[in-house]
Amino acid sequence: MESKIVFEKNPFSKRMKSMLRVDFRRMFKSLLLYILIASALLMPVLMTVMMAMMDGSVSVDPQTGAETVMQGPENTWQNLGTLPGGEAMGGGEVFMMCNINMMFMAVAVLICLFISDDFRSGYAKNLFTVRAKKGDYVISKTLCGFVAGAIMLIAYFVGSVLGGAIAGLSFDLHGLNAGNLFMCMLAKIFLMLVFVSIFVLISVAAKQKAWLALCGSLGGGMLLFMTVSMITPLGSTFIHVVLCAAGGALFALGLGAVSKVVLNRSSLV
């Protein structure tokens, strides 16, 4: 018996809707996301309070006898960037780089484990058998990482404000205004797209090898990490936001296309 079978086309919007729903549901069910958000929230609180407590304490090198006076933060916004005439948190040797920009690296952990889990569990096999379009997967994962990164940045911002308040630090913006602060955060959020696109590319190339994805992502991220504070200063303006948004879109499109090629040309199991 032979009869006609109708194969229906699944439009892009429907495909993306279902894939985003699956990925977001998985991401928001993952304990790792909440651990990272909690860390993003608690870390600036603990760090600010601890460094404020250490302010003025003297440490002596037992060999040379040289004395070092510990300098704590003076202003809450040092957690986010450099104020005019000051320096950012983590500018010193202790807690080096421990400011909001760390979130750009922390999101790598989430993305690498999220994607490698797809391949390790065999979920990717089920997915790619029924979904021929690899681009959908890349878009969905990039958006998930972007949203997670944005949440982590906001959590760090909230944590910084809390930490500053608890430690009794100044909230003075030294000539900047709330608009600059908002633009700075917005620019960082858009810049997150650049990092996420890099991490997604490295993760889809490494597939089930989470360790390789992590090492590659952290290494790759480090190359750009130092530029974050320059591109998104505390005194950011609309231009910074536009530049970061354009850079994010460009990286997402370019590296997304490369990720798609990698998935199309390599073994998915």
Binding site: G122, T129, R131
Partner: protein, 299 residues
């Protein structure tokens, strides 16, 4: 139109040629038993059909369309190596994820339906990592059945199943293809089980298809034999060996005399030589023996 038509398919992994000019035809409504030794290229071929690894050459057409066509791929169900489930999620959650990936309307109803089909409705709330091997395999098959697929590709789906599980799977397979539109490609080393359901066979060796046949053709080409037990087995075997070209003793302790359909000649011959036959029957070799015979170069 065939469900799958593969021509000249090849795939190399470095210097190793995994699949080499493979041709394969899976008719619509067929349960295609895909058989071969370990490392013969079965899984590689199945992965290429599913688009999980790029082909090294040749063509794959599914329902007359290229295998990369998204509309055809959306109507495929797959179980390759192990079910693709997240260990920390429940069976239900895993099934719902796949249902959403397939954009199935009424996903809950569909998931309940397929879980009932594989008799797993009672274990839907269990975490996948806590399921037994057989249960995991059933979940994998249930997942492959989601979305009413027109082509199922199942790699060793019977592994780890108990007798009841295997019976259920046989029922599921025959049920899937009964309307003549859907087809199943199933590879298994459990040839006895496969023979109970397969309508077509393809035997692969060193990446090449060596035989493709229907179940009827297999049946016709399987040798008949007379199996017997005698009071003095050693003498009986020697005595039969002098008259018949192929006499062997099987694992169950029977002497088999091949290419005979009636036992009268054998009984008469042994009786004339003073050997008493205690049990005798006629039978045909199964798929397993046919396959072993083929691999040994007996055909």
């Amino acid at each position: 139109m065939n469900a799958a038509e593969i021509k000249n398919l090849s795939k190399n992994f470095g210097p190793k040629q995994a699949v080499c000019g493979l041709n394969m035809t899976v008719p619509m409504g067929a349960i295609y038993g895909f058989i071969g030794e370990n490392g013969s290229g079965k899984s590689t071929t199945e992965k290429m059909i599913c688009g999980l690894i790029p082909t090294g050459g040749g063509s794959i057409k599914l329902y007359g369309k290229d295998y990369t066509d998204e509309t055809v791929r959306a109507k495929m169900g797959v179980l390759i190596e192990a079910p693709g489930c997240f260990p920390g999620l429940t069976v239900w959650d895993n099934m719902m994820l796949q249902a959403e990936n397939l954009s199935i309307p009424n996903a809950k109803r569909e998931v309940i339906k397929v879980l009932k089909t594989v008799r797993m409705e009672g274990a839907a709330g269990n975490k996948y990592k806590n399921c037994s091997l057989g249960m995991k395999q059933r979940v994998g098959i249930a997942m492959a059945l989601l979305g009413d697929p027109t082509l199922l590709v199942l790699d060793e789906p019977l592994n780890g199943l108990d007798a009841d599980g295997m019976r259920i799977m046989r029922e599921v397979f025959t049920d899937v293809v009964k309307d003549g539109k859907r087809s199943i490609i199933v590879s298994s080393h459990l040839l006895g089980e496969l023979q109970k359901v397969a309508t077509h066979y393809g035997i692969i060796r060193h990446g090449k298809m060596i035989v493709e046949m229907t179940a009827e053709e297999l049946d016709a080409s399987c040798r008949t034999y007379v199996a017997l037990q005698a009071a003095d087995m050693g003498r009986a075997k020697r005595c039969l060996g002098l008259k018949y070209s192929r006499v062997e003793e099987d694992e169950a302790g029977y002497i088999r005399v091949y290419d005979l359909t009636t036992p009268e000649d054998v009984v008469t011959h042994l009786y004339q030589n003073g050997i008493c036959v205690t049990e005798i029957k006629t039978d045909k070799i199964g798929l397993e023996e046919y396959y072993i015979d083929l691999m040994k170069g007996g055909r």
